[in-house]
């Protein structure tokens, strides 16, 4: 059994520790894109990450975007903040994935897709809160934490899975007493995100709906986005599709709206 303190110690390792990142995030939080870009420029890894992210096909830019101030300018405050969070998460990403069949490139893809589509959703729902935009970055973060936790007990995990068709989230719950969304909540606390974000992520589990209508609605959209993304061949092959249990009934009422937005046919 993995203890809570082990989980906490792992989450403890999550940045922000580098000074530059902390400052960049703080400036973005104040809405100062110019200064944030100036500070961020000093971290060449952040620059390379943002460049790779923004030039992914899902963002649909014809010409290559190179400069960090240009990137922040294009993304705007909330998306820049989220992209920086994504970068922090990528720092945690293992060199070699053992349980989920991911690699650096496919993990960046996962982040990019969550991010771009969540932006689409928040715009559609007329939500401009930058914290809410960043909320979706917690999903890939918790996948990394789960991978790390599973790897500690990889034999137990494989045994449990061979006995019955149990989803990994349930195994995580049984092994650690926490599920993916609890981990998200912990990370949100660590990053001092607002309380409502933690609640949205819990609602996004599909099994812990919120009494608050707005939070519940966002939870539904995130739950559906999670499955929309994890139904892509690359992530099915990465064995992420059956990580959590899809709650179809929970999202039925928003499905038509979602499919119109994502142009599903």
């Amino acid at each position: 059994m993995i203890t809570k303190s082990q989980i906490d110690s792992f989450i403890e390792k999550i940045p922000p520790s580098p000074k530059i990142l902390k400052e960049t995030l703080s400036l973005l939080d104040q809405g100062d894109l110019v200064k944030a870009a100036k500070v961020g420029k000093e971290d060449s890894a952040l620059n390379a990450y943002l460049k790779e992210l923004i030039n992914k096909p899902i963002y649909g830019f014809r010409n290559e975007v190179n400069d960090i101030s240009q990137i922040f300018g294009i993304l705007g405050v909330s998306k820049s903040q989220e992209a920086t969070y994504n970068y922090m998460i990528s720092l945690l990403s293992p060199a070699k994935w053992k349980l989920f069949k991911l690699n650096k490139s496919s993990f960046y893809d996962l982040q990019a897709q969550f991010s771009a589509n969540w932006q689409k959703i928040t715009s559609h729902l007329n939500i401009n809160d930058k914290d809410l935009q960043s909320a979706v970055s917690l999903l890939p973060a918790s996948i990394i934490v789960s991978e790390a936790l599973f790897c500690e007990k990889i034999d137990d995990v494989k045994l449990l899975r061979s006995v019955d068709e149990i989803d990994l989230n349930t195994i995580l719950q049984r092994l650690c007493g926490m599920d993916l969304f609890d981990i998200c909540q912990r990370i949100a606390l660590k990053w001092e995100m607002s309380d409502s974000i933690a609640k949205i992520l819990q609602a996004a589990s599909g099994v812990k709906p919120s009494q608050d209508e707005t939070i519940n609605k966002l939870g539904k959209w995130m739950h559906l986005l999670l499955f929309y993304t994890l139904s892509q061949p690359a992530f099915i092959q990465a064995e992420l599709n059956d990580f959590i249990d899809f709650q179809v009934d929970y999202v039925n009422d928003i499905y038509d709206d979602f499919s119109n937005l994502m142009e599903i046919s």
Binding site: F227, Y228, S231, Q232, I236, N252, Y255, I264
Partner: protein, 464 residues
């Protein structure tokens, strides 16, 4: 992906969105093979956690299903869906459903031989009459008590008494019953549907083998539902003229219903009428006119060109035909069959009184025709299960008998497929009395097997 196997049913549970790309990643043929090796007699994909699917996504599974079914002869299909998804299946595959659909896993388990519980009271309804019959027979075969609703109204009424039934079946489809080429109506008429522009392409799309075999079986009235036809060109005209002329050799009638000649030269109609084709404005003009229906559909002496002899392949497969027939009738009448005599000759029916008959043709790798002569009492008994109550209405008995023979045909098809012999079956033809059958069959040589079900004599005749 791994299947969960319970009661001999292997169920895969994909989740999320199914399109061509994701379906391929979710399930592969090795996953299915492994499930089959674990003694699953049914392979299903549950759609409980699927929020979206399209035709491409389903096609990936169906392609694998077909392979597995051919290799292992097990039931394959989908389960756990709502009405919306069921309607989507019907829309995507229309009359080409080669797999099964079970509304829930619980319903699927009733059709699984691995399901231990028996004697379930099951209320069932399907708008398709053949399906109603097939579902009832399979349920009965598996030791349950099916109660068949004959109409949606009756179904809804009966379904109100929920406690009276262990399981209620609707929106369910058994997919191994063979192809549906045309619709049969009471009165032994076959209806083909044609639409839009009729041109040279009709020669490719019209299933001529099916049509010829239907003639061979004894159908004498063929109706083209042409309400949706916009126009016809000279190539189609030639095709239909030939069809009509060749039908005349069997004394069969071909009719066009609902055809408008706004964009088709009126002279075409005259040409077709000269070749023996008849035209009607409304389908009811024929179907509701019993006298006309009897007159048009009445069979006359079979064509002399049709005397083909039995061949070795057909005789070798004889046990398969007998097995399929006997098993179905035994099960339906709850009585044991004994074989009295077998001979190769022309059909010989000693006592013609109180007997009705039915025939069904098959064609493909081998071709021929099975004729069954039932004492009216056996037919009534066998049909009781399908109708849900006893009846003396001869039309209804004949109608249900046709469904029963259709099921025999379906079983033969499956048994032959096990030996890699691929055949299709025609619709069943029924006869009010033995004389009607003899008009078609008396000159044909075949294998006649006399069987007894308890003390009732029953005749099986296999010919070409």
């Amino acid at each position: 992906m791994r299947a969960v196997i319970r009661d001999g049913i292997g169920v895969f549970h994909p989740q999320g969105f199914l399109d061509g790309a994701s379906s391929e990643s979710l399930l592969n043929i090795e996953d299915i093979d492994m499930t089959v090796k674990s003694n699953a007699s049914m392979i299903l994909v549950s759609l409980k956690k699927v929020i979206f699917f399209n035709r491409n996504g389903l096609d990936v599974f169906i392609k694998m299903f077909q392979k597995v079914r051919t290799a292992n002869h097990i039931v394959v299909g989908f389960c756990d869906y709502d009405k919306k998804k069921y309607d989507a299946f019907k829309k995507f595959y229309d009359n080409d459903l080669s797999f099964s659909l079970f509304k829930t896993q619980q319903i699927a388990s009733l059709f699984s031989s691995g399901f231990k519980e028996k004697n379930k009271n099951v209320l069932l309804y399907s708008e398709d009459k053949s399906q109603r019959a097939a579902l009832a027979i399979e349920l009965h075969d598996n030791g349950h008590n099916p109660i068949v609703a004959q109409s949606e109204e009756e179904f809804l009424q009966k379904a109100e008494a929920k406690d009276a039934y262990d399981v209620i079946i609707e929106n369910t489809f058994l997919g191994q019953m063979g192809q549906k080429v045309a619709t049969r109506v009471t009165g032994n008429a076959i209806i083909y549907t044609v639409a839009s522009f009729l041109d040279a392409e009709i020669g490719n799309t019209f299933n001529i083998a099916y049509h010829n075999n239907s003639l061979n079986v004894g159908f004498r009235l063929f109706i083209f539902d042409a309400y949706k036809v916009v126009s016809m060109n000279v190539h189609a005209l030639n095709f239909f003229s030939k069809l009509s002329t060749s039908a005349a050799e069997y004394n069969a009638t071909i009719c066009f219903v609902g055809m408008s000649f706004n964009k088709t030269p009126l002279s075409f109609k005259e040409t077709l009428e000269d070749s023996g084709m008849m035209f009607f404005d409304q389908m009811d003009d024929i179907l509701q006119n019993k006298e006309l229906l009897d007159e048009l559909g009445a069979s006359s002496a079979a064509s002399g060109k049709n005397k083909r002899s039995l061949n070795k392949v057909l005789v070798t497969e004889l046990p398969n035909f007998i097995d399929a027939t006997v098993a179905t009738i035994e099960m339906m009448t709850n009585s044991k069959a004994t074989k009295d005599a077998a001979k190769v000759d022309k059909i010989e029916i000693v006592d013609k009184n109180d007997k009705i008959a039915s025939s069904i043709g098959f064609y493909g790798d081998i071709d021929g025709m099975v004729m069954l002569v039932f004492p009216l009492d056996i037919a009534k008994k066998a049909c009781e299960l399908l109708i849900g109550e006893s009846t003396d209405d001869k039309e209804l008995i004949l109608d249900t008998l046709a469904e029963l023979v259709n099921i025999v045909g379906g079983k033969v098809k499956t048994l032959l497929a096990d030996e890699h012999i691929s055949v299709d079956i025609t619709l069943p033809r029924t006869y009010h009395d033995v004389d009607g059958l003899l008009e078609v069959a008396q000159e044909k040589k075949g294998v006649q097997v006399d069987l007894s079900f308890d003390n009732d004599k029953f005749l099986f005749f296999l010919t070409r």
